[in-house]
Symmetry: C2
Subunit: 417 residues, 2 copies
């Protein structure tokens, strides 16, 4: 087991211990946001034949070669083709067919003139424009051809992909499983939100913020409840989470008297990978894995901010990797520091900041108390400013990297065009 390692070493150890989950088969309508587990090959050509892109008249462009507004060509309206109808008879020279958007072009016709450009009088239609050959026709295979790979394994299924699958008649689809996360909190001082806080007990809020963080990243949280401050209670809860893909505890990982996470994990067969990361908040983070089959185990510090920050930095990328994503990390940007920051060298500090757009760049300002117990300054934070381990001062106006935390940060109150 390693102790007191850097953030990047810890990140590397976590991600190299993190596999991609297996596949499952889902109704396509439930697959939004999932990662495709198969190459989707078109079983049909779309459109299956030439179709009209407009309501108008299907005709032979050659018949209009000499048309002009003052001297329109006059064609005979031979028949109508409705959308969804089978193939019509062949169009002869000098004929036009009334056609609706999406309807199959009759054999012989090569072009569609929009009805706005035509004047119909009984069985005749007068057209004073010269269309381009093939105008307003969607050729067979314009969208895709049978046998083509339309979506490759690894694609994230968004709205357009689900539309494409529907258009191919695919109602079920193979996708990467979504990670199941077992959450537990522990400590005799903790009660649930509806519990009695008399005598100094405090509400266990971590399971609520961590469950929400899981949902945000597409994982499926299951809350196992509060463990008491005994090895037996902790072991019971941990055992209940062994069939999850990830087990996240926010209990008992300080160096204090209640430090029996390590022996309990070892008794269950887990191998401790590291304990302690040179960061603040979040130093007493524990990461363990099982040599054979078992969940990844994150022991997050119990302070509400420390738990959220270590989740963001280590658990979230692991959950994205498990789900099959390649973009594992939140966006970062460079921002000017709004006020001079100081610390002792040695640990990276993640400073909760709000970001203001100034002069085409960003200005980062602390959200107030950086105590790891103050969730309110986490709630106000749009990002975490990275105050590097070796640095002891970041002067006002210097630039630093900020990891954006707010999912809605890039949305705008102005349309932008």
């Amino acid at each position: 087991m390693k102790r007191g390692i850097s953030v990047s070493e810890a990140r590397g150890l976590v991600l190299s211990a993190t596999p991609r989950l297996g596949l499952e088969t889902l109704p396509a309508g439930e697959a939004l946001g999932r990662v495709l587990g198969e190459d989707v090959v078109a079983g049909r050509t779309l459109p299956p034949h030439d179709v009209s892109a407009m309501d108008g008249f299907a005709l032979r462009a050659a018949d209009l070669a000499a048309a002009a507004p003052a001297a329109p060509a006059v064609l005979r309206v031979a028949f109508e083709v409705a959308a969804g109808a089978a193939a019509a008879r062949t169009l002869a020279p000098g004929e036009a067919a009334r056609i609706l958007t999406g309807a199959r072009m009759p054999p012989g016709a090569d072009t569609v003139v929009r009805q706005e450009d035509a004047r119909r009088e009984g069985e005749r239609v007068s057209i004073g424009v010269v269309p381009r050959l093939g105008e307003n026709v969607r050729p067979a295979g314009e969208e895709l051809r049978a046998g083509e790979c339309v979506l490759a394994a690894g694609r994230v299924l968004g709205p357009a992909e689900l539309g494409l699958l529907a258009s191919l008649g695919r109602t079920i689809v193979s996708v990467r499983q979504r990670p199941r996360v077992a959450l537990l909190s522990g400590g005799d001082e903790l009660v649930e939100p509806d519990g009695d806080t008399a005598g100094g007990r405090i509400v266990s809020s971590n399971s609520y913020s961590l469950a929400a963080l899981c949902r945000r990243v597409g994982a499926e949280p299951r809350y196992l409840g509060l463990a008491r401050d005994t090895p037996e209670s902790l072991e019971e809860k941990l055992r209940a989470g062994l069939r999850a893909d990830v087990l996240v505890s926010s209990a008992g990982v300080s160096v204090g008297d209640r430090d029996y996470v390590r022996p309990v994990l070892e008794r269950l067969g887990a191998e401790l990978v590291f304990w302690g990361v040179e960061m603040r908040p979040g130093h007493p983070l524990v990461f363990a894995r099982f040599p054979a089959d078992g969940p990844l185990v994150f022991g997050l510090p119990g302070n509400p901010v420390s738990a959220m920050v270590t989740f963001e930095l280590f658990v979230r990328p692991a959950l994205r990797k498990l789900a099959g994503h390649t973009a594992l990390f939140r966006p970062t940007l460079r921002a000017r520091v709004g006020e001079t920051l100081r610390k002792a060298p040695g640990r990276v500090h993640f400073v909760r900041v709000r970001l203001e757009r100034v002069d085409g760049g960003y200005l980062a300002r602390s959200t107030g108390s950086q105590s790891s117990g103050v969730l309110r300054s986490m709630s106000l934070a749009q990002g975490l400013l990275v105050f590097p381990a070796e640095a002891s001062e970041l002067r006002e106006g210097e630039t630093a990297v900020v990891q954006v935390l707010d999912d809605e940060f890039f949305l705008s109150e102005e349309p932008g065009f």
Copy 2:
């Protein structure tokens, strides 16, 4: 009714017709992403009294004023305070109390020394450091004080806000309702994805892509099915959607023979606000409202890309406004155009593009066929490049505004620090 208006006029008409929905009361655990409908006032002070931030020894800082590594102060360990236990007896000068993280400071104690900095021997503890007064103590009210407004109405509830609500013991919360959207498609040429496409029928994919777009923005889609090409069938479907907040049809809004949306809507009591927006794809967009109570009605063009683009530009901001958000719009950025684009002046074109990071900026390249029937180029698109109405050429290297469509666009394959 207005006809052939600009994108910005249409957007203004839609948003000024869009109210904010009313409030509902939800279990806090189901409120992720919702907009808070009430000011949340703290009913308790947190922490309720001074607590230890570490496992260690609570003591009077004055007793250590002369301590040094070579000459540690020796205090008597008078008692222990466990986390969650009630107030202990008063600490006398010369005494220390063993204390755990989160436990209440005993009266008389003002400072905590971490156990790493102390050496215990039976009833005595030797400490060779001089702590700062109040070190490792979280003062009462550090997080918040009873009576303070902790979260104001209008806040979006993310993970930290749900943690805060839990810590206040709030298990239910008042939030803005989420929009219910009724979706219908129509056209005799359409079948569902498991339907028979013989004879030129095509799959109705719009309801699948539009339902996914609704889910992405936190709205609740309900699919009413396919209307046939008769006024009766359309009226029946529209009536089934009248109790939704928004009714989205992707059927029968061309200027063609099947154009009976307008009379049917008027018979139902709707007032048509506009018909036709000077944009491509998406020109035949219809927007209607009910003078008294009734849904907003969007008649989207039936082509798969036109339906998605008009949803993005008009329906999505309306859904965000209904849900109580103030950031209604997707992000935009400026990008250099990757290849010269040409069009006739008159309509804004929204060009499907991929965005590449080049030299600290973005380069936008078309995703291929811009036919409004080609969903595949929509699926590849990360954004819509805005080719302004009055322009006829955008030269390679010129910059243009791009609206980002991909929810994961800003995520990264690299951690960034």
